[in-house]
């Protein structure tokens, strides 16, 4: 993006589209062709990790196993995120459409929507929409069914392998990887698991063509994405924006003039302080995000912000692996001890080393990402941690 303005985009919400026509024409195309178009678009998973969506579909399509699944991860649990809810509320058919295209590519007969427990209120409407969707699918002669499974309310169940465990009726604990879901996912079968937003975009790419999507964003971060914006902002809410903006551009638009830091990517994301606004790109070349953006103005205590995050992780860790289960507790008690003067300020360095260990040894993304907010807050707001 070359100019200085933040570009609002409108790829998914208001644009109507004919589900039947799109599915019909896409179903007539060869799988390779579909994958190539998706690859061409440059779409990366919208959950934050940023794996190219086309490759995920491709790897799964290459598995010999006759039983495969497409799972839509709607277990949105990151504090300050509510964009999937908005998408499911407003354009569920487009999500189902994305699942149906994926189902064709990987040859899945069944798909699942794993819905966050707190979103149960969406269920009646979603079921209705699903009926309509199944009718369309029937009309074009495709054998594919989607079922909705309710989540159990644990944050960790958003982690894909924990989500499978939960779907299978077990305790939501992440699995060892490899094997990855593309090889062994739900019921140990090859599975594509995409989040709500990724599926919407996959579908819309077949509405607009890869080129239009690719024109947006940067080389590393193609397209647009949905953000949920909260905190100290006059304009909280859901916005679809082109990728590649700097934090400064973002704050110009959404800040209140007194913004001292922006938390990009929620509790597991990064905290960007004012002095770095200009040089930090929101996207895979800078700070990646699942979509949560929180603005803090100067009246906020960053110590409290960090402590809240750590309390969240301390509770939401599944608890199975040592670095995460115990590490989170130590980080929280550690900053408290420093703040109270029970430990020397130098203890913060010890804790940063611990966070580093968590980042490289925890079993899943949850434990690994605690370090992100910890580092970026402790590093940039050290005085607030001590005094």
């Amino acid at each position: 993006m070359s100019n200085n303005f933040l570009r609002r985009v409108d790829l998914i919400f208001d644009q109507d589209c004919n589900l039947k026509d799109i599915l019909k024409s896409t179903y007539q195309r060869a799988n390779d062709d579909i994958i190539n178009e998706l690859l061409e678009s440059g779409l990366k998973g919208r959950g934050g990790a940023g794996f190219p969506t086309a490759l995920k579909w491709k790897f799964t399509s290459e598995q010999a196993d006759p039983d495969k699944y497409i799972v839509c991860n709607a277990d949105e649990g990151e504090p300050g995120t509510f964009k999937d809810r908005e998408i499911l509320f407003k354009v569920p058919q487009k999500v189902f459409g994305g699942m149906a295209i994926c189902a064709k590519v990987i040859n899945a007969k069944e798909g699942f929507l794993y819905l966050r427990g707190e979103y149960r209120f969406l269920l009646p409407e979603l079921e209705k929409q699903l009926d309509a969707f199944h009718k369309v699918i029937n009309e074009i002669g495709v054998n594919f069914k989607i079922k909705i499974i309710m989540g159990s309310g644990a944050y960790i169940c958003g982690e894909e392998s924990a989500l499978f465990e939960s779907m299978e009726g077990d305790r939501g604990e992440p699995r060892n990887k490899p094997p990855y879901p593309t090889v062994s996912g739900f019921r140990k079968k090859p599975t594509v698991i995409n989040n709500v937003e990724t599926l919407v975009y996959s579908f819309m790419i077949f509405r607009y063509g890869a080129r239009k999507f690719k024109e947006l964003g940067t080389a590393d971060s193609r397209g647009s994405k949905v953000f949920s914006i909260s905190g100290d902002t006059p304009k909280p809410g859901i916005y679809e924006l082109e990728l590649g903006m700097s934090v400064e551009q973002f704050v110009d638009e959404f800040g209140d003039g007194d913004t001292k830091a922006v938390q990009v990517g929620g509790a597991s994301g990064f905290c960007v302080p004012r002095k770095k606004f200009k040089d930090t790109i929101i996207g895979f070349e800078g700070v990646p995000t699942g979509g949560s953006m929180m603005l803090f103005n100067s009246s906020r205590s960053m110590y409290n912000v960090l402590k809240n995050y750590l309390e969240f992780f301390e509770e939401e860790s599944c608890g199975q692996c040592t670095p995460c289960r115990v590490g989170c507790q130590q980080l929280k008690l550690g900053i408290e001890a420093v703040k109270k003067g029970e430990r020397h300020a130098a203890y913060l360095e010890q804790l940063q080393k611990l966070a580093q260990t968590m980042k490289i040894t925890a079993k899943c993304g949850l434990g690994q990402s605690v370090a992100n907010s910890f580092f970026s807050i402790v590093e940039n707001f050290k005085e607030e941690m001590i005094y």
Binding site: E315, C318, G319, T322, R325, G334, L354, I360, T361
Partner: protein, 596 residues
């Protein structure tokens, strides 16, 4: 043939089968990687993370126990990054851990302690979390004590109870900082489906799960001049005890063990093997009796197949899980309990002792035996038949406490009156042993000839396969047993309760048309019992089993009905197998228990 994978570990190239883990590959190169949640017997968990290694090109340090090898992988097991991470992890575990090692029962045999020592965690880095936790200690069970303050949440016990035992008495509860190992509704172990088998105890790397020990009580009895303390030792103890006293697995230490027990001060050192032989007589005749009733008297109320009842872990399992089959159990008490009942009757009479002053102690490979001895059914002598049950591990502790140099002991024999045994009794210690011993006797009783296998070795029932079947055709039966002429006696053997479940489900569905079932709760049978030296794994069980069969092969008498003391007790006291007196003292019944 499996695909071959080439990789490099610490600069050394190695080629292994596809599917091998980094941990296994490193082991082939004699590179030791520390582990905690890993156990040879169990599925991979990958949750303690002490086994992390550095992998070239990877952002994170993979857990070597859970990471399969890949072509061209370059692994470093001992970089500063790896050491720092491991040290952090051990430190974290210790911060959550009630590390009063000096007063811990597992002091000296704890994997966490060993690691802390190896990594020289002398000055804890992190904040002590123990005061923040509401740790519970569950000490109500006669067999097992669970102390959450020692638990490192490795989930070995959970996997053991679920995979090996199909009991799932233990599970993971809560998440985050509150995550813990718990039981149904957090009830005490004593009140849940736990079978007391102790397999979890045997696999717990710390002091979080231990046997309830009765060492002090036994010392007290020994030092009480008023008491006559008899001790019995189970067949599986003598092939494993050595492991806790400096011998390699598979070393038979019977003679030294007997000498040590004498030195400890027991008044009489006797042998569970004697009652194992007696069990064969009772159980063998019980089986033949059931067959006669079913085949000759056409009595349809007779329960077949008949199942062995010497493993108390199995008994509690069937009480909870298949109560409708309780009548299929042999009514025989286990050898331990038969011994207890006779110690305070027959033995006391012969030695002219007041049974109230006899204290009967047993040394068992088993934690469930502690529970069994406490059962209200087990008082047919008029007293508690067995007063104290010690595990193999507890006996080793007593020997060390007494300052005995086990190595240097001369070998000696058990005392007489209930001290004689045969090869048939010895093999009770391994899975399939009861079946083999029973067949040796039953076949001979029916036909007058030795069982038609090579040198009495009924190899089809031996081995470590989970479920094994064998059948014997009866030919030229003696006149009394003509009704069995030409019959094929079908038997099946299972060990580990997951396999027990397979057998019972087959019986339930009508697919299993066996006459006689042997079930042992523990993998490998009692040689792999929950009270055996730690570690216990497949390789060690194999060695112990081999030792058992070696011992049998070396015995002069190898059939229970030829044990002279057994012959004598029937002449003097019991009169006939499965007779009135036997039923009074040596048989019992069990009761249904709820699963929840």
């Amino acid at each position: 043939m499996a695909k071959k994978i080439n990789l490099i570990i610490d600069g050394i190239p190695v080629t292994v089968d596809e599917g091998t883990t980094i941990l296994q590959a490193a082991k082939l190169l004699n590179i030791h990687i520390p582990t905690l949640c890993y156990h040879d017997d169990l599925c991979i968990a990958g949750n303690c993370r002490v086994c992390v290694v550095e992998m070239k090109g990877a952002r994170t340090l993979p857990a070597s126990c859970a990471m399969p090898v890949a072509e061209g992988m370059e692994i470093m097991t001992n970089t500063i990054k790896v050491r720092t991470a491991r040290k952090h992890i051990i430190d974290l575990l210790l911060s959550e851990h009630n590390a009063k090692c000096t007063t811990c029962y597992k002091n000296g045999n704890c994997e966490l302690q060993n690691l802390a020592s190896e990594y020289k965690i002398s000055d804890p880095m992190f904040i002590d979390l123990v005061p923040h936790k509401n740790y519970q200690m569950d000490a109500y069970s006669p067999s097992i004590i669970k102390d959450d303050s020692k638990c490192i949440r490795c989930q070995r016990c959970v996997r053991t109870c679920e995979e090996l035992q199909h009991v799932s008495a233990l599970g993971v509860a809560y998440k985050g900082e509150k995550m813990k190992i718990s039981t149904f509704f957090e009830n005490p172990m004593f009140e849940v489906v736990c079978t007391n088998c102790g397999q979890c105890v045997n696999r717990c790397p710390t002091g979080a799960l231990i046997e309830r020990n009765y060492i002090d009580e036994v010392w007290e009895a020994i030092y009480n001049p008023d008491k006559h303390v008899v001790v019995q030792t189970a067949p599986a103890v003598r092939v494993a005890l050595g492991e806790d006293l400096g011998f390699e697995p598979g070393e038979i230490v019977t003679g030294k063990m007997v000498s040590a027990l004498r030195r400890l001060g027991f008044d009489s050192v006797l042998d569970t093997d004697f009652t194992a032989d007696l069990t064969i007589m009772e159980e063998g005749f019980e089986l033949l009796g059931r067959l006669r009733k079913a085949l000759v008297d056409k009595d349809t109320s007779v329960k077949l197949p008949m199942a062995t009842s010497c493993s108390p872990g199995w008994i509690k399992f069937i009480e909870h899980t298949y109560p409708e089959y309780l009548e299929n159990l042999s009514t025989c008490k286990s050898p331990q309990q038969m011994f207890g009942a006779l110690a305070k009757t027959y033995y006391a009479q012969k030695r002219n002792l007041d049974p109230a002053k006899v204290v009967s102690v047993s040394i068992m490979p088993c934690t469930a035996k502690k529970f069994e001895a406490d059962r209200p059914e087990m008082r047919s002598s008029g007293y508690k038949d067995v007063d104290y049950v010690l595990t193999t591990r507890e006996l080793a502790i007593m020997i060390k406490q007494a300052g005995i140099e086990f190595n240097a002991l001369a070998e000696s024999h058990c005392d007489s009156i209930m001290g004689d045994s045969t090869g048939a009794a010895v093999i009770f210690g391994a899975t399939g042993g009861v079946m083999e011993a029973a067949l040796r006797t039953a076949y001979e009783v029916v036909t007058g000839r030795e069982v038609p296998f090579d040198g009495l070795n009924i190899t089809p029932v031996r081995g470590m396969e989970g479920v094994r079947e064998a059948s014997v055709k009866i030919e030229n039966a003696a006149p009394d047993w003509k009704f069995l002429e030409g019959a094929v006696l079908k038997t099946v053997v299972a060990h580990g309760l997951t396999n027990a479940k397979k057998v019972m489900d087959a019986v339930k569905s009508g697919k299993g048309d066996w006459h006689f079932i042997e079930i042992m709760a523990c993998p490998g049978g009692c040689i792999g019992g929950g009270g055996q030296p730690i570690p216990t794994n497949a390789e060690i069980r194999q060695k112990r089993a081999e030792a058992i069969y070696r011992e049998d092969a070396g015995m002069k008498i190898r059939k229970s009905h030829e044990n002279p003391e057994v012959i004598a007790i029937y002449k003097e006291f019991l009169h006939e197998p499965n007779g009135h007196k036997s039923h009074e003292l040596l048989h019992t019944h069990y009761k249904e228990r709820q699963r929840y």
